[in-house]
């Protein structure tokens, strides 16, 4: 189960973000997972509770969004929906396509909470 290794890599990145932001707790982690990434979201979530124990990400919500499989046809140029095992152009039926969505494995956002809300850190957008 390589999801454990992927999860450990995820937690390392989250720890770094938390450290950079002087956060004492990570509240929520958002990831995008494509069906063609080779990673099962469910297994990753299971691994997360084990791998995050005792880290700053302990108790954080892990929210994974499954991205749609979409291909760009080299023949007709259309971008259409596809299936992980059938990456054929839905418009013209050509098999020579390029995956434009559905293979991602992306950490999108990390929501953190800080000890003391001191002065506004650089880069923050108030609204």
């Amino acid at each position: 189960m390589h999801e454990l290794a992927v999860c450990q890599a995820l937690i390392e990145q989250v720890k770094l973000v938390a450290h950079e932001q002087h956060a004492h707790r990570v509240v929520e982690i958002n990831i995008d997972i494509g069906p063609l990434s080779g990673v099962e979201a469910q297994l990753l979530e299971q691994a997360f509770s084990i791998a995050s124990a005792g880290t700053v990400a302990d108790g954080a919500r892990l929210i994974s969004k499954t991205t749609p499989v979409r291909v760009n046809c080299r023949s007709c140029g259309q971008v259409t929906d596809a299936l992980p095992t059938r990456l054929i152009c839905a418009n013209c039926g050509d098999w020579q396509t390029r995956v434009v969505s559905g293979d991602e494995l992306l950490l999108t956002t990390v929501e953190v909470s800080r000890n003391i809300p001191t002065e506004t850190p650089p880069g923050i957008t108030e609204h």
Partner: protein, 265 residues
Amino acid sequence: MCDTCGCNVTHGNAHLLQPGGKLERTDSGHESVSVLRNLLAENDHTAGHNRQHFDRHGVLAINLMSSPGSGKTALLEATIDALGKELAIAVIEGDLETENDAERIRRHGVKAIQITTGSACHLDAHMVHDALHRLDLGQLDIVFIENVGNLVCPASFDLGQHHNVTLLSVPEGDDKPAKYPVMFRSADLVLLSKSDLLPVLDDFQPSNARRHLQALASSAPIIEISSKTGAGMDAWLHWLLEETAALEHRIGAIDPTTATSMPAP
């Protein structure tokens, strides 16, 4: 620590490579940091670094993947016997346990580094990097990396290879590309191994395997091959020699002073 190029990628300094996140306040009063980074970015960075090592020495790196027992080691043994005089070959062997495969390779007079992954069902770029520093790349033409026998996990980890070669052995059935799309989509060449069994296992149709591969938008060439009888070996060796020449050409076309720049993924 890498003494060849001075790029010391460790767990401790990998953060220097990533841009700082962007902040936004959420409704609940927390701060949302936008990261947009590949989960395996650290592995991919090390893989890029491995590729630099290979490129700098003009060494062709091939990642061999398949189910357990599809004939990866047998293919390497036959390949070494056929090419060993012409080209300098080394093998990096990945297995959960045992030195068996490395010992089989060494019997053919070639250097083999065994990586035992323990519980990890795949090789990653860090493991390969450690093994690389135990090889004298300057003396080599081809490095084969025999991945852990597994059609799922190895597909997610770039090792720094130039090409993925995936074996599909005849006893496994011709529908495997449909069942393991991530693995077969990543293949640059598919070898239908144990082709000597085709007459016995006649429900395996190479044309079906090709059809399933095309459904994955794969244009990888397919070679039917038997390490046992030698059938198909010529086509495989031809592919290897062509790729070796193509790499030399690519490297030669790059100014040696800029040859250290990161190659395209």
